[in-house]
Symmetry: C2
Subunit: 180 residues, 2 copies
DNA sequence: CACCCTTGGTCTGTTCATTGAACCCACTAG
DNA sequence: CTAGTGGGTTCAATGAACAGACCAAGGGTG
């Protein structure tokens, strides 16, 4: 986060977390990664973030062990950014913050809904499945879909288009990845 | 948060939430409010934040409905900043992010531990009580205490001193409020 | 009354981060 | 050769954050 350029002062785990993920666009980038965004250009167009900032944030997240840079083709070497194990564990905080935002900072409720893929039930407040019970559902078993009550104002980048239908979390979005 | 000075672009509830609590010090201020900090000067010395920034953040959080400004004495009029109902609901995201930071961004584990006041059991990952079961424990029923494994490097402001012993969340810290 | 202390601020000048736009390079397809 | 795409870097201008001085209302002390 660079708070006072760094945060040595705070003994607190929260401060440490914010150093990693508290910077202006970081959490949005991580959210997009959960949505299946992997490529530089997809982050760029979906977030509308300046290129230099995206470069800096991605590198910082890789350095912090939240994302990892993996090649997805060799011919011209290209890589995508994937969530690491550490990154995947950000799903809980991210989901809860998102829910809070949907309740208190968005009129008309959230734009996306999240369900347990196995049974189709919408997740509860802490991200657990009310019918299957117990602990929070891991992101790989979650499907997102747009909230039908809020269909206006779609955006027209490849990522937004890929997300108009239901979509499993973490599954790469179909962007330029149309080989045939 | 003022992202690009504002965030109109993102349809997402997360972006809305970040507009409210994503700014540099906001979540730390909210965390301190959960710890029982209420006064301008206590926030100031505990966080080591510039006064002007603190003023701006407190006003923004009040405007967003996360905090409310309540008088605590009349003689010279003074007020404290208290969490509203909306603010209290930030406990979930805050706790989870803090846990994540304790696991992945702090060597040696967290500095504070949180237990269910009624039974003394430490909270689980989502903030629920493993013995009493069920849904997350509301902040008013939580006690915090320093992690005994990490007793070094205490700071010496009134807030840090008040938090060296176990302390119920939301209970005002004893700062200059020592009348005798 | 004169003086200083506390609380909760505001003002100012400097530094730092973010922004947007332009530029760059490797590679490929036509 | 030319244009296009993916993934960047560089740069000037802006805006926010910083540290520290200053301010104001009220109170306590002598």
């Amino acid at each position: 986060m660079a708070l006072g350029t760094d945060y040595e002062l705070q003994d607190c785990a929260l401060a440490r977390a914010l150093e990693v993920v508290g910077e202006r666009w970081s959490l949005l980038i991580v959210r997009d990664a959960f949505y299946g965004v992997q490529r530089f250009n997809d982050f760029l167009t979906h977030l509308g973030i300046p290129r230099a900032v995206l470069t800096a944030r991605l590198n910082a997240l890789v350095a912090a062990g939240v994302l990892s840079k993996e090649p997805y083709q060799q011919a011209p070497l290209r890589h995508g950014y994937l969530l690491t194990e550490t990154g995947l564990e950000l799903w809980g905080p991210l989901y809860q913050l998102s829910r809070w935002g949907g309740r208190h900072a968005t009129e008309g409720g959230p734009h996306h809904l999240f369900a347990h893929a196995a049974c189709g039930t919408d997740l509860d407040l802490v991200g657990a499945c009310p019918t299957c019970g117990g602990s929070p559902v891991p992101p790989a078993e979650i499907t997102m879909r747009p909230n039908p009550a809020r269909s206006g104002s779609r955006r027209e980048d490849p990522v937004s288009r890929a997300l108009v239908g239901p979509h499993p979390l973490l599954e790469p979005i179909a962007s330029a990845a149309v080989p045939a």
